[in-house]
Amino acid sequence: MERLFGRPRPSDDEKRRIPPGQYLTGKWPVLHYGSVPRTDLSTWDFKVWGEVERPLDLSWDAFRELPHTAVHCDIHCVTKWTMLDADFEGVSVATILDLAIPKPTARFALAHCEQGYTANLPLDVLRDEDVLLADTYDHEPLEPEHGYPLRLLVPKRYFWKSAKWIRGLQILDHDAPGFWERYGYHNEGDPWKEERFSER
């Protein structure tokens, strides 16, 4: 990776991993609305509720005891930066869903986060093997501005779907738009199809 005018210049191999309309960044930009929330792990919990047989309410310690897995991936933001070769660790969302046992009617999920942020995804997307509830980046706990203590990681979608400061998953039998999806962001957000904005 060379640099060109302050931005990394991708090699030919890297170019093939950068979706249309994106540019390569070497640093991980910080993007969110509002302020960075302060977290007290002694009162923090993670809930799963809605269309599930066994609703969950996990403390931080209980979450940390779940089996962790590593994901090496590229991430793509709707604001057009792409960062290659990111290393996350966390608990597979499929593991969480297996614990909660979605009902046969369950098809979608709404991620609920601090400060009222939400993002919606189909359950079959959340079951992908590279989708995590991530608590580390580059082998260190997430930085506060990147979602400490926990964020969703959905590498195949634009990064607004990888909701920071996540506190729960509401499992639904219908799709319900999240925060950005209500105001003009695309419902699916596939970077390879440039699904940035909807017609709303």
Binding site: V30, L31, Y33, G34, S35, V36, G116, W180, R182, G184
Partner: protein, 92 residues
């Protein structure tokens, strides 16, 4: 049914003007929210579920803890949500 009359039309026009003014979107958003609150309190406009949701989301986007700057997406959220509020004024 949407509110009618001169007061309602004036409130809509003022909120539209504040929402679409030049300047920083978060400043516009705070001013438009204040005027919308006034309009609801005075009965010039009526609440709708769509407006209530947008107003709630806009307040979230403007939440600012003491000593912290607003995140970079607050401005974009303000622009997007103000557009939704302006669209929703006709039903208010």
């Amino acid at each position: 049914m949407a509110t009618t009359g001169d007061l309602a039309e004036r409130a809509r026009e003022e909120i539209r003007r504040l929402a679409e003014a030049r300047g920083h979107p978060t400043d516009n958003a705070r001013l438009a929210l204040d005027r919308l609150d006034q309009a609801f309190a005075a009965g010039e406009l009526q609440r709708t579920p769509r407006l209530d949701e947008a107003v709630g989301d806009l307040r979230l986007a403007l939440l600012q803890d003491e000593g912290q700057p607003l995140g970079g997406k607050s401005a974009e959220a303000s622009r997007f949500i103000l557009r939704a509020i302006v669209r929703g004024l006709e039903e208010a």
